[in-house]
Structure formats: structure tokens, C-alpha cells
């Protein structure tokens, strides 16, 4: 269970460019929840994920994950609990290292690293099995540099890496936004399969309202640093994109912003 209590985050405090990215966010995510997060540009979606992952430190409030207070833990320590996939397919993998080295790094997420040899024979067999599940033929290319893969392949690999060592929580930051529509659908399907298989608690940011409605059991809408709408279960299933737009229009005071969110 992830619990955020009174979390605030301000960028460049005290300057002309001061930006309050998160304002008094209170949020509880239960084990097994698959939460989709939507909101316009600058609504605070990515910041929400980043304060959970420890990329930036929230200025006030507490973040507790499964009873562990992670509020002041550095990013690399929180990695023990979190699987992450980024929007940029290049960010989640090391291009200059081969596929099996990337997987071996992921296998050791949150573990103490020693002077043992990185890849063992049993591990290699395991990576082959896991890669085969992606159905991309990557199991034949363990020794290939990741830099040779396409964006979609790299994103699928990153997803596998994020879940190779079961995380307490999976954080997806618009991980399909940079892919072409067909690949995006594939990666999203893969995400759903992996989440269902491993029963992962998931927080997924998306710009695509249809995806946000179709995927997951709970939906959060953010606006100007606040969580303004939070539905789950039956209520979420009964929503459609028009409902979401109306909701958005209501809170934003009729300001029908020229925003990517509308394109969903």
C-alpha cells in the first residue's frame, strides 16, 4: 500500500518562475490497484510519480510504502521497491550494454552488488524464457547491444526489466506516448498482461483518455497540482470520455484548454 499524506512540491521556490507542482496531495493506493492518472500538461502527474520514485524530494508531507517511510530515501534506495518505465524509450535501458547485461542489472535491482560475475548460466536461461514471453524474438539476441533495438522493443524490454524482480509498485510515466499507435497498443497489452500475471500494484500516467478508461480499476484526474477526481470499480467502468471532459471543464472553470488531453 502506498500512502501519500499532505505532499507538497514546489519548483524554484521564491523565484519568479516558482511553480507549485503538487499541492497537498493525499492519496492511498491499495495493493493490487491499477491506477491510471490523467490531466493536462503541467497538472503534476509526472511530479507525482517523481516524488514517489525519489527523483525529486517533496518539500513537505510523507510517503509511506508498505509501512516503510520512504520520504527521505534517495532514489537509488527506493529502487529496491519500485519498477519504473519512462516516457522516453531510450531512458530505461543502457544502449551500450548487451540485452542480457541490462536484464542482469534489473535482476539485481535493490540488491547489494558484489564482485561476483554478473551473468550466470541459469540466469541466462531464465532471461531467454522471459524474453520469449514478449514475442519479439529478443530471446535470440541476448548478446546484441540494446542500442540496436527499436523504441518499441526497448520499451518492452524496459517493462520486462521493471518486473523481473517483482516490485512493490510499478510506476509507468506515459510509457507508450513516444511509440507509434500500433506499437503503443502492443506495449500497453503487454503491460496489462504483466500486471495481471504478477498482480502488481500500478500507477500509470497516460495522455490517452480512452486508455485511461479502458485500463485499470481506478482513475485519478489531476489539475494544477491537485487530485480533483478519483473513481474506481463500477463507477469508473460506467464512465466515458465525454464524462471525463465534462468533469475537466467543470473544475477548470470552463477553460477548455488547447491540450493534448483532448485528443484522446
Amino acid at each position: 500500500m502506498l500512502k501519500l499524506t499532505g505532499v507538497n512540491m514546489t519548483f524554484k521556490p521564491g523565484s519568479v518562475n516558482e511553480k507549485r507542482a503538487l499541492i497537498d496531495v493525499n492519496l492511498v493506493i491499495h495493493p493490487g490497484d491499477f491506477v491510471t492518472v490523467i490531466g493536462g500538461n503541467g497538472a503534476g502527474k509526472s511530479t507525482l510519480l517523481n516524488v514517489v520514485a525519489g527523483v525529486c524530494n517533496n518539500e513537505s508531507g510523507r510517503i509511506v510504502l508498505d509501512g516503510i517511510d520512504i520520504t527521505r530515501k534517495p532514489e537509488y534506495k527506493r529502487a529496491a521497491y519500485l519498477g519504473r518505465v519512462f516516457q522516453d524509450p531510450m531512458m530505461g535501458t543502457a544502449a551500450g550494454m548487451i540485452i542480457e547485461e541490462n536484464l542482469a542489472m534489473a535482476k539485481r535491482r535493490g540488491k547489494r552488488r558484489s564482485l561476483r560475475w554478473e551473468i550466470t548460466r541459469e540466469e541466462r536461461a531464465e532471461y531467454c524464457r522471459e524474453l520469449a514471453k514478449l514475442g519479439l524474438g529478443l530471446e535470440e539476441r541476448l548478446q546484441d547491444k540494446v542500442g540496436l533495438l527499436s523504441g518499441g522493443q526497448r520499451q518492452a524490454l524496459t517493462l520486462l526489466m521493471a518486473t523481473l524482480q517483482k516490485p512493490k509498485m510499478l510506476l509507468l510515466d506515459e510509457h507508450t506516448a513516444a511509440l507509434d499507435p500500433k506499437t503503443a497498443r502492443k506495449v500497453l497489452q503487454l503491460t496489462q498482461d504483466l500486471v495481471a500475471q504478477e498482480q502488481l500494484t500500478t500507477l500509470m500516467i497516460t495522455h490517452n483518455m480512452k486508455d485511461a478508461l479502458r485500463v485499470g480499476n481506478r482513475l485519478i484526474m489531476m489539475y494544477e497540482g491537485r487530485v480533483i477526481f478519483d473513481v474506481e470499480g463500477e463507477e469508473k467502468r460506467s464512465l466515458d470520455t465525454r464524462d471525463l471532459m465534462e468533469k475537466f471543464e467543470m473544475v477548470s472553470g470552463g477553460e477548455f484548454a488547447n491540450d493534448r488531453m483532448m485528443l484522446g
Partner: protein, 340 residues
């Protein structure tokens, strides 16, 4: 033979980017000697270039860690190379066994590397500037260690003279053997290390720090470890060179980073078939270092003034750095022409 040998020693002190502050700078004399006995001297100069190339290759391997693995151009090596030489020379003159002196040089270099890394990680000083600061500070440190700008090792035991007592070879051959032993040993150790869990985390830090952190790597610690190892090797190389040439000088490190980059890039460009395996890439850097010395020896034989050597090195590196880009452009323009 004695005359030829004499000349080879002169090339040592005159030819290798460390001619600036040496009180026994003989470059003028060597040029004259070189013209008198050319055929023999060319052979010896080549032998010497190979030996020097291998001793300096230890520095290239160190630079490989910062420049290629961590992707940091670490300028502290100019200071740590001299630091290694100064520590070694001072300890040997003080009566220490030259092998132990090498270990202290290695440790000294590691400490200096850690200083650069701490400035970069904890104080967030950009790596280039952090390296410059360490390099500058080390000049004073090196002066303090030696108490003067130059320490000759005439009549002292060095690893070369000690090996010479046991092995029936000339000084050049012994230099060569020592260089081969160190380079082969280091390539083996580095190949092993960068295949371990920590080694992979270090490589990932240089490749994609964000990913490395997301997978639980303390990237700051990896930068510290990398620069520590890198500068340790560079100082070791400085110690080997000082013992080989028979003196240490505060100015002996000037331009080290350029020579290191030159070796790596020349190795990569010329020995393009050495790819794929990490050990082969390291071997390419070693061969690049040797080739660099050979090129220098050739241009000196052709009559280049030793004072122009640094300019030549700088131009050489600039050319080598631009080769990949120029090659791309050439390919692209040819493809365009074919299309038309």
C-alpha cells in the same frame, strides 16, 4: 653500441612530452647524434617507442575508465601522472624498494582521483572543472613531495635495473617486457572487473545514469570508484615511466590527458577489427598508445623540433577525434552522389 644506447636514453627524456622542465634536457645534442648514425638509431628509436608506448599504455587504460566507461574527460590525470612519478622517485631516493614505491604511487593516484570525484558528486562541480582544479592543486602537492622540481634516479635501484640484474637483456627490452607484463595483467583484471556486478553497475552509470539509479545503483559512488581506479592506474603509469627514464619531474604530466585520448582514439580508429569484446577494446587502447609513440618517434626522426611536439600531439588528437564524423559525412555524400 654504447653510442646508440646513449641516444636512446636521450630520446627518453627529450621525446615524450616531458621535455619542458628537465635540467638534463638533451634534445639539442640528441638531434646531432641522430644525424650521425641514422640506421642504427632508427631501430633503437622504434624499440624505445614500443617500450615507452607500453608503459604509457597503463595510463591509457586508466583514461579508458574515465573517458570511455564513465564518459568523463578527467583532466586530473595531468596531475596524477606526475604525482605517481614524484611519489615513486622520492620514495626510491629515500631507500624504498622500487616495487613498493609503485604501490604507493598507485594509492596516491587513487586518493587524487577520489578528490576529483568528490568535488564532482558531493559538491556538484562539473567534472571538467573538478579535474582542472585537482590538476592545478597537484602541481603544488608534487613540488611538496619532491621538495624540488626534478628528482634524478641516477645510481638508484629501479624496477628496470633490478630486472636487468636478473635478466640478460638490454634496457629497452626490459622496458618492453615490463610494459607487456603490466598491460596484459591489467587487461585481464579489468576484463574480469567490468564483468562483475559492481563493474556492470559502473558501466551502466556511464551509459545511462538515470537507468542505473532506477535499478538501485548509487551512481555517485560509482563515479568515485571509477575515477579512483582510473587515476590510480594513471599514477602507476607515471611511476613506471619515471623509473624507466631515470627521473621524475613536476612537468612530466603535462598533456597526459591528450596522450591518453590520442591512444584510445587512434587505437579505436586504426584497429577497428578489435571490437565487440571488452578485452579487445582495451587491447586497442594499448596498441593505440604504442602507435602514438611510434608516430612521435618517426616525426622526431624526420626532424621535428621537440618543442613543437605538443602542438603536433594536439593536432593529432583533433584529427583523430574528427575522423568518425568526417567518415560519416564522406559516406553520406557518396550515397547522395550515387542516388543522383
Amino acid at each position: 653500441m654504447p653510442a646508440g644506447h646513449f641516444y636512446a636514453v636521450f630520446i627518453h627524456s627529450g621525446g615524450c612530452a616531458r621535455c619542458n622542465a628537465s635540467p638534463i634536457d638533451p634534445s639539442a645534442g640528441s638531434a646531432i647524434a641522430g644525424r650521425e648514425q641514422k640506421p642504427m638509431n632508427v631501430m633503437l628509436a622504434m624499440q624505445d617507442a614500443f617500450a615507452q608506448g607500453l608503459l604509457w599504455a597503463v595510463m591509457s587504460l586508466g583514461t579508458y575508465i574515465s573517458y570511455r566507461v564513465l564518459q568523463i574527460a578527467d583532466l586530473s590525470v595531468d596531475g596524477t601522472f606526475a604525482l605517481g612519478g614524484c611519489i615513486s622517485a622520492t620514495l626510491i631516493v629515500g631507500g624504498m624498494n622500487p616495487f613498493f614505491a609503485l604501490i604507493f604511487s598507485l594509492l596516491g593516484g587513487m586518493i587524487a582521483g577520489a578528490v576529483t570525484a568528490l568535488m564532482n558528486t558531493f559538491l556538484r562541480i562539473p567534472s571538467l572543472l573538478a579535474g582542472i582544479l585537482t590538476m592545478l592543486g597537484l602541481y603544488s602537492v608534487n613540488m611538496r613531495i619532491m621538495g624540488k622540481s626534478n628528482t634524478p634516479l641516477l645510481g638508484e635501484d629501479t624496477i628496470i635495473t633490478l630486472a636487468g640484474n636478473v635478466l640478460p637483456f638490454s634496457k629497452n627490452v626490459i622496458n618492453l617486457l615490463i610494459g607487456i607484463v603490466f598491460c596484459v595483467g591489467l587487461i585481464a583484471v579489468m576484463y574480469w572487473f567490468f564483468g562483475t556486478e559492481i563493474g556492470c553497475a559502473l558501466r551502466a552509470t556511464g551509459d545511462n545514469a538515470k537507468m542505473a539509479r532506477a535499478l538501485g545503483t548509487n551512481t555517485d559512488n560509482m563515479i568515485i570508484l571509477g575515477l579512483l581506479l582510473s587515476n590510480g592506474l594513471v599514477a602507476l603509469s607515471g611511476a613506471l615511466v619515471a623509473q624507466s627514464q631515470g627521473f621524475a619531474d613536476v612537468g612530466m604530466g603535462t598533456g597526459t590527458i591528450v596522450i591518453g585520448l590520442a591512444s584510445i582514439i587512434i587505437g579505436q580508429v586504426v584497429f577497428r577489427f578489435l571490437r565487440g569484446n571488452f578485452a579487445l577494446k582495451l587491447l586497442a587502447a594499448v596498441l593505440g598508445s604504442v602507435l602514438y609513440r611510434v608516430i612521435i618517434a618517426i616525426v622526431l626522426q624526420l626532424g621535428l623540433d621537440t618543442n613543437d611536439l605538443k602542438l603536433f600531439s594536439a593536432v593529432l588528437v583533433a584529427v583523430a577525434l574528427s575522423v568518425p564524423l568526417l567518415r560519416e559525412k564522406y559516406k553520406a555524400s557518396r550515397l547522395r552522389k550515387e542516388a543522383e
